[in-house]
Amino acid sequence: MAHKSASIILPSEITSEALFHDRRAVLAMGLAGAALGAATPLTALGDIPAERYKAARNARLSVTETPNSFEEISGYNNFYEFGTDKSDPAANSRNFKPLPWNVTVDGECEVKGSFALEDLLAPQTLEERVYRMRCVEAWSMVIPWVGFPLAELLKRHKPTSKAKYVAFTTLNDPKQMPGQRERVLDWPYVEGLRIDEAMNPLTLLAVGVYGKALPNQCGAPLRLVVPWKYGFKGIKSIVRISFVEQQPRTSWSHAAPNEYGFYANVNPAVDHPRWSQATERRIGGSLLARRQATLPFNGYADQVADLYKGMDLRRNF
């Protein structure tokens, strides 16, 4: 399609290096100001080396479609914590501080606690996965995420037999996330998966895109990617992962239960009450590009359709 050049963009060409270092400088300054009074450290506490994000592609679980450009992926998305317009996240997340970062793991599991992100990442091999992303608003992209299977992290925390669901929570910090000053949604943002969905090999915890750390507006430093579900299931800037027995009260299904379900599987046969889900507009196409057909489970039916055997997907939308 339109992104002939995207496949030959080197990861190093994508984010300007200045922007990347600027982020570090902010971190370093914060530390230098601390009681330590030491020389500015080269690698700040909680920082993750840039090389970690240069992960090898998992070709088996990647689509072959040409990915969207970094500018599209980082310039057009929904992240209501930074505003409701699709250009707001990029515009309003510049002062967000993704590192150092801690994630609380709790609920129905044996290994609970608050963990530094770098410790959670230490045992993981990061991989690149090129996934389709279908927004519930009927537009779509193809994104080269960098991350690791959620299942690997979950297993390390030894969920008990009572862990039927996994609930995720986004950071709640209106000072850093100006969108949270308006009660557009019931903050903090909460999402959830059934445990078998969470354990599916496709379910990814992403920390990067295009071989670099996630930009703030894309959910830095840690976000969920569930490629067969609508984009809003992919909760961003995760601070808490809880194993729970009951289906969690997720943000969009709570805000508008008739429009957004808990499952939110991409399904061309089940329309949103106000618009069709049969087709989608791939971002980056020309003005005259035709909409393309939306695929059941966003094209991942072979890997995930079995999870929903015997379920009425019209009712469990």
């Binding site: 409701t84 308006e182 508008a256 329309d271 069709s276 971002i283 909409r291």
Partner: protein, 196 residues
């Protein structure tokens, strides 16, 4: 002045003069034209209260132009949706309009603007006389439909449609509030004449 957003959108659509319509140009075209139509509609409705408040009767000449611009942007809004968003797939368009009430509401608003645009000339005004005024009160219905259409398609953040709803309510409320007085003012001298 009122044409510049249209020129900007046209430049963006053609990719000239360094104008970009952003990552989703189709959405930008549809939304920007729709927003402009609504703004022009609100401006049209603001003329009468402004004239009554300021006493500038030459504001009336501006009203025709604003109304025609509202129609112009509504047409661009509708046609960019038909051509770029729906790819002129008539079957899809028909099924969408039938299934999605907000589309029907928007389409009705646009359709109702047509007779107003056609009778916007001074000649038509003279020819229709009082009926012209009655016909052009359709603007009130159109404004309500337009805000409703906007409100209904917003995903969650209702602040913008609420703002338009408040403005339209104030502008229409002004007319309701003013009417009994005007009627009284008109009937009062008549009564005096009758008793005299």
């Amino acid at each position: 002045m009122f044409i510049s957003p249209a020129l900007w959108l046209a430049a963006g659509a053609l990719g000239v003069a360094g104008v970009s319509l952003g990552m989703d140009p189709v959405r930008s075209l549809v939304h920007e034209n729709g927003t402009m139509a609504l703004r022009m509609l609100v401006a049209t409705l603001a003329i009468t209260p402004l004239r009554q408040l300021t006493g500038h009767s030459d504001l009336l000449r501006l009203r025709r132009m604003l109304g025609l611009f509202a129609f112009f942007y509504a047409l661009l809004h509708l046609s960019s949706w038909v051509v770029f968003d729906q790819g002129m797939d008539l079957q899809m368009i028909l099924s969408e309009v039938v299934k999605r009430p907000y589309l029907l509401v928007g389409l009705s608003a646009a359709m109702l603007m047509l007779p107003l645009a056609l009778t916007s000339t001074t000649a038509a005004q003279r020819w229709l006389k009082r009926r012209w005024t009655q016909l052009h009160r359709l603007t009130y219905v159109i404004a309500v439909l337009a805000v409703w259409h906007f409100w209904w398609q917003v995903k969650k953040d209702l602040r913008e449609p609420i703002a338009y709803a408040v403005i339209v309510t104030v502008l229409l409320g002004w007319r309701v509030w003013k009417r009994p007085r005007a009627a009284k003012a008109r009937s009062a001298p008549a009564t005096t004449q009758g008793t005299a």
